[in-house]
Amino acid sequence: MHGQPRRPAKPEDDAAAAAKAAKLRDLQVQVLQNHHSRTYTEEALGLSFKLLEINPEAYTAWNYRKLALQHNLRELTDPEAIKSSVDDELRVVEIALRQNPKSYGAWYHRKWLLNQKLTPVDFKREFGLLDKLLKVDARNFHGWNYRRFLAKFMGVPEEEELKYTMDKICDNFSNYSAWHNRSILLSNLLTQQRKGFESKQKICSEEFELVTQALFTDPSDQSGWFYHLWLLAQTSSPENPQLISSWPCNGAKLSLSLVGKKDDLNTVSSSLKEGIVPIVLYFNEPVKGLSPSTVKLNSDLVIGNNIQWRPLSITDSGHSNCWATYLEITNKECSSSQQFSVEVSIPCSDDIVSRSGSHCNCPVHFMFTIELGNNDDKARNIDLFHDPISWNGSESVQSHGNPSSVPFDHLNITDALVQEESKWHLEALSEQIDLFRELPDENSKFAKLTLARLSLACAAIKSRGNSPIERKGYCEEALGFFSDLIYLDPSHKRYYEDERSSVQMDQLTCNMATFMEHCSDQVQSNLSPLNHVQLCRLALTRIGYPERLLWVQMLDLSHNNLRSVEGLEALQQLVCLNISNNQISGFTSLEPLTKIISLKVLDLSCNEIGAHSIDTARYICLSPFSHKVEPCDAFEECRKKNINVEEFWDAILFFKSVNLVQLDVKGNAVANKDTFRTVVMTLSPSLKFLDGTCVH
């Protein structure tokens, strides 16, 4: 069934195929005719059967048979007669499945039939058929789906089904479906705390033991590694979603003045978007359900009642790691400095749920203050971006500012969350690491990748437990594994590079001392000092740990290998971003930037925008940017200027959603096109500097 090479068709097959096609067309026409004329005679049904026998994928024929059955049953009252017509229908499905055991239509028809509950289901027969089917192809997921359906329908205890997966795994452990079903069943049994499944630790240990038997026997078989990955997730991540970071952080003092200097270590100036203060909440896993009723805001400021929490995610799933709301400060009429406090509290709530359905069970409370500055008219009239922002980083890093002024990890939520089970987690994971080190296949990519993931899981636990040295050891090991993998398995190089970048970002930002080397205050004329982070020439390919950068206002990521900027959408304070000299290949990969309302300065120079005729990011990224294209004013406006909208649709969508003052795009293929300049100029009325020259 699997791993059989496809033979090239012989010339004599062509003739047979043509004859078959002619016959099929003929049958199809007749069946459709009967369908339209609602002819449900025995003869007509026979034709549909003939069609399905040859081609079980004929959905209309299945639908026709459903209608015919319902029609014919109306005239039947004798239970025997009903039973016989249901049996006939079941037989048709069986014959169709013999032709194609993976026919969606046929399986669906059978489930539909059973769900009609016209006659008592002969479960023995159904399970018998399934056994036969799975004997021929133990990995047929349709069969497994149907088995789950039957088990639920009949009320087979999940313990029994778990035993069945074990039998199948013993027959041949190279069975993704069996392992997969096992993970589902175990999750359910553990959640329900069924007898014998009270201890997750015990079950996980047993499962680790089982799967390592398979992994060691044949490390080149992927199915076991997938199951191991699931087990790893069960063992390393906290069961419930947790808030891990926020902006503003606990105890922060914001000053909403247009000009000024910091006078307090904890003061963060939020000077640019006057009157608007974003609050960003960052969770350890994607959640949904944040609303004014699940997140309580208390303040002596007038903040209005229409608080809305928005997911800062570019996917449409509704789940997001990062949520934001924007406070509009309305009481500005005061003339002297005034302080207001804002309290944010998230009580235990069943409404904030993760993808797996577990809810936030760890209440969080934090508080920050907003100082409304003395906004005199003189300050109001200052042009904030009179001169272009310079990215001359080397000068500025140490030039100003006290490193300790950076609000680092003020939200000490993570410490509080070191759970008791971490200890067991760490033990189980270390055991696994020791085990896989013994695996004699030094060059097994699965083993290396698993070791890397195990090390990272350990590092994550260590960071929760505040053991920086051990944590560093784990991270470095993981980095080593990823470097090996890039060499060993070049076809998945990009994935490994991304993973490596993430670890690198973790290394750089996890502790104060190393992070500080990259942080500074940047002073630009007319602007209050900006929190500046410089992460240049690190060969980063993607952004990791954005939750640690929420406070950054000026970010320099130039001279890396970034292909995506996903994660930056969480940085709601970001004013200036430098991603020059990276590998950004199109505006679709910049979509996260459209979520940053404060972004004013963007340096995109020397990337690959426009260099590739096909925008692969459009297919690779989860970004629904391209799926949301609908007629909008921006397109109309561009059409009026004779811009080829089809060619620049991504640029149009990007520039209509950002509000830049300064942009650099030189060194990209797209920048050489005059039309592109027109697009930018048309859609960015606020733009003052384009590629270093003043345009407005």
């Binding site: 452990f173 038997q213 398979a214 060691f216 026997t217 044949d218 695996l439 004699p440």
Partner: protein, 408 residues
């Protein structure tokens, strides 16, 4: 060449028609039966005779109660055929040569003691000793090819092979599935064992596809230098621990001598032979859906095997009446294959002509399978009929219930 018509004192015996045969096979042991079947399949006329009242000669299976009488007759009474032959030859000396066919005794010395147990009827003794058939064995192929499989019932050797190691018996992990399920092996041992299996598999695949040009590990082949090494040394080179080596050597490659001797001797399995056997073993597993392990055993003893070939030869003869005639003759029997009208024929052969030679068939050997016996039988056939194919593939007579790929 051989004339079975007798003169003088042999008038008591009916004559056999036809009276001349290409081949006369005496004895119905496994090699003789296969030979008879092969000759019949090649279109030769064959006379197949046996002085014993049962099939199988030295390859038969004897019910336990009859064992004693068999052993005593075998060792003490001289073969009746030889004496008769001598006496009759004088009567018809002119036109016939009488051939003295003396059977070699299987046992040099026989000693029995004790009484036969109560339920002894349920036991059969295989004279050829304990042997097994690999599912992918050539003997099994021959049975399938000749249709002889329709006359034998097989039983899968259940429970797999056991290995005595370190004072205890262990089931032998002989497949991926068995390695996975095995509870006694260390994780690394599992890995090494399966890796070794994979090496052998890739070697077999590479060598069977005729890919001999590329040498070394890239082609998955085991190098020529390694193939001539003693197998045990090769296994050591593969870093297999002692217990795993024992599994491979004695339970899978079925070495019947201690392979860990210091001196090189001919009993030492070479890597080439060892791998050949493993190939046979692994292709045996799963060949038949209803055979669990690698081995099968004839349900009613090894005596079934020669019978199957005899019957094939007989069926063959009936189907191709013009070219071949095979008679299975028995002194007293009610076996259906015996042609009607022939009873009580004394196995006397009057050997006529000059071109014929007398060849003897292989005797049972000490091996645990039939591979060597089969090999010598094939050689015998090739020597006699160098231009004929040995039991060609399409020689099987047609049966209505053709389920030739099942071991039932």
């Amino acid at each position: 060449m051989a004339d079975a018509s007798a003169g003088g004192s042999l008038d008591d015996y009916p004559t056999i028609d036809p009276t001349s045969f290409d081949v006369v096979v005496c004895g119905t042991g496994l090699p003789e039966s296969i030979l008879a079947a092969a000759c019949a399949a090649a279109g030769k006329t064959v006379l197949h005779v046996d002085p014993n009242p049962f099939y199988g000669s030295l390859f038969s299976s004897i019910p336990l109660p009859s064992l004693h009488s068999f052993l005593s007759s075998d060792s003490s009474t001289p073969c009746p055929s030889s004496s008769t032959a001598t006496s009759s030859s004088s009567a018809a000396a002119a036109s016939h040569t009488a051939v003295d066919l003396e059977r070699r005794s299987l046992y040099s010395e026989v000693e029995t003691s004790g009484t036969v147990p109560e339920s002894s009827r349920r036991f059969t003794v295989d004279l050829v000793g304990p042997r097994v058939l690999y599912c992918a064995d050539e003997a099994v192929d021959l049975l399938l090819r000749s249709g002889g499989s329709h006359h034998v019932e097989f039983k899968s050797v259940e429970g797999g092979t056991l290995l005595y190691w370190d004072g205890a018996l262990y089931p032998v992990p002989d497949s991926r599935k068995a390695i996975f399920k095995d509870a006694t092996l260390q994780l690394t041992e599992k890995n090494l064992l399966f890796r070794f299996f994979k090496l052998v598999q890739s070697h077999i695949a590479a060598s069977s596809s005729g890919d001999n040009e590329r040498e070394g590990e890239a082609s998955g082949m085991i190098s020529e230098e390694e193939l001539v090494l003693p197998f045990t040394e090769f296994l050591e080179k593969q870093r297999l621990p002692p217990k795993i080596r024992a599994v491979v050597l004695y339970a899978i490659a079925m070495a019947d001598h201690d392979q860990d001797v210091a001196e090189p001797c001919e009993k030492l399995l070479t890597t080439r032979d060892g791998i050949k056997t493993i190939a046979l073993y692994s292709s045996s597993i799963g060949r038949f859906a209803n055979a669990e392990g690698a081995f099968i055993y004839p349900m009613y003893g090894h005596g079934e095997l020669p019978q199957a070939f005899c019957r094939f030869a007989a069926v063959k003869a009936i189907q191709e009446q013009q070219v071949a005639a095979v008679r299975v003759l028995q002194l007293s029997s009610n076996v259906a294959v015996c042609p009607p009208g022939i009873k009580n024929i004394c196995p006397v052969f009057h050997y006529q002509g000059t071109s014929g030679t007398v060849l003897s068939c292989p005797m049972p050997d000490e091996d645990l399978d039939f591979r060597n016996i089969l090999e010598s039988t094939k050689k015998l056939f090739a020597d006699t009929y160098p231009n004929e194919e040995f039991l060609p593939r399409n020689s099987a007579p047609k049966y209505n219930d053709d389920d030739s790929d099942s071991a039932e």
